[in-house]
């Protein structure tokens, strides 16, 4: 096969490994998140209820871990799906950068969304 294809697609191990690591973070974090939000506080969801949870450092850590790991896992997963359908060369580079910029922006927006509870 052309040497160019190999060079253009070099790497992949780190993204593959990080997809696995974030998967573990999400499985543990989501279990905590879903049980705390929807089982222990069934029908109690409100601004103050969220504030009560985010007063505990544990939930600040869990929520930020979920935000970061979730965004990475989602966007890298979408990239993995799209790469199965013929993105190469310029379109592949643009896809990767587009998703990266979108991910950073989404993380910033998500952190801003949590801000009022953290500073309350």
């Amino acid at each position: 096969m052309r040497q160019g294809v190999i060079e253009e697609n070099a790497g992949g191990m780190w993204l593959w490994l990080l997809q696995r690591l974030t998967a573990v973070v999400l499985i543990v974090g989501l279990a905590v998140h879903i049980v705390a939000t929807h089982v222990l506080n069934l029908g109690e969801l409100s601004y103050d209820n969220v504030a009560g949870r985010l007063a505990m450092p544990l939930f600040v850590v869990v929520d930020f871990a979920l935000l970061g790991a979730g965004i990475f896992h989602a966007l890298n997963g979408l990239r993995m799906v799209l790469l199965d359908y013929g993105f190469s060369g310029r379109s592949k580079t643009m896809l990767s950068w587009g998703l990266f910029v979108f991910g950073v922006a989404a993380f910033g927006y998500g952190a801003w969304a949590l801000w009022p509870w953290l500073t309350a």
């Binding site: 573990v24 879903i34 089982v39 029908g43 997963g77 979408l78 998500g110 009022p116």
Partner: protein, 132 residues
């Protein structure tokens, strides 16, 4: 495996009886759905910062209507399947149980069904008690 077994093992089977392709397809579809949900979820939570406590609470009254609780069940089905099949894939990545992939797939389906039954019971009794 006898010669006859070998020759007939795949008779009419096609690929879909391999279970692995279903597992992959469900994983992919639920994954894309969850990715889209994640960004919707971030936007919903950001209403707290954007509209303050009152707007946030009004929105949550809508989100606790029966329609959204039923949608939540679909969401949970996607989360549970994606997580359990994700564990199945993680095992494969560790080189474990690749040859037992079909058994694992059915285990994933079975556990998903049980978890969904529990949550369906919880949410339906929630709808019943709040609707009355």
């Amino acid at each position: 495996m006898s010669q006859k077994d070998r020759e007939t093992a795949n008779v009419g089977a096609g690929l879909w009886k391999g279970a692995g392709m279903w597992a992959w397809l469900f994983h992919r579809v639920s994954g894309v759905a969850l990715a889209l949900y994640l960004f919707a979820h971030i936007w919903v939570i950001s209403r707290g910062a954007a509209t303050g406590a009152e707007g946030f609470n009004t929105m949550f009254e809508t989100l606790e209507s029966p329609l959204f609780i039923v949608l939540d069940l679909f969401l949970l089905a996607a989360v549970v399947y994606h997580a359990l099949n994700g564990i199945r894939v993680l095992l494969f990545d560790l080189g474990v149980a690749i040859r037992q992939q079909k058994t694992l797939f059915w285990a994933v389906i079975a556990i998903s069904v049980v978890v969904m039954a529990v949550f369906a019971y919880i949410s339906l009794s929630f709808i019943a008690s709040h609707g009355a």
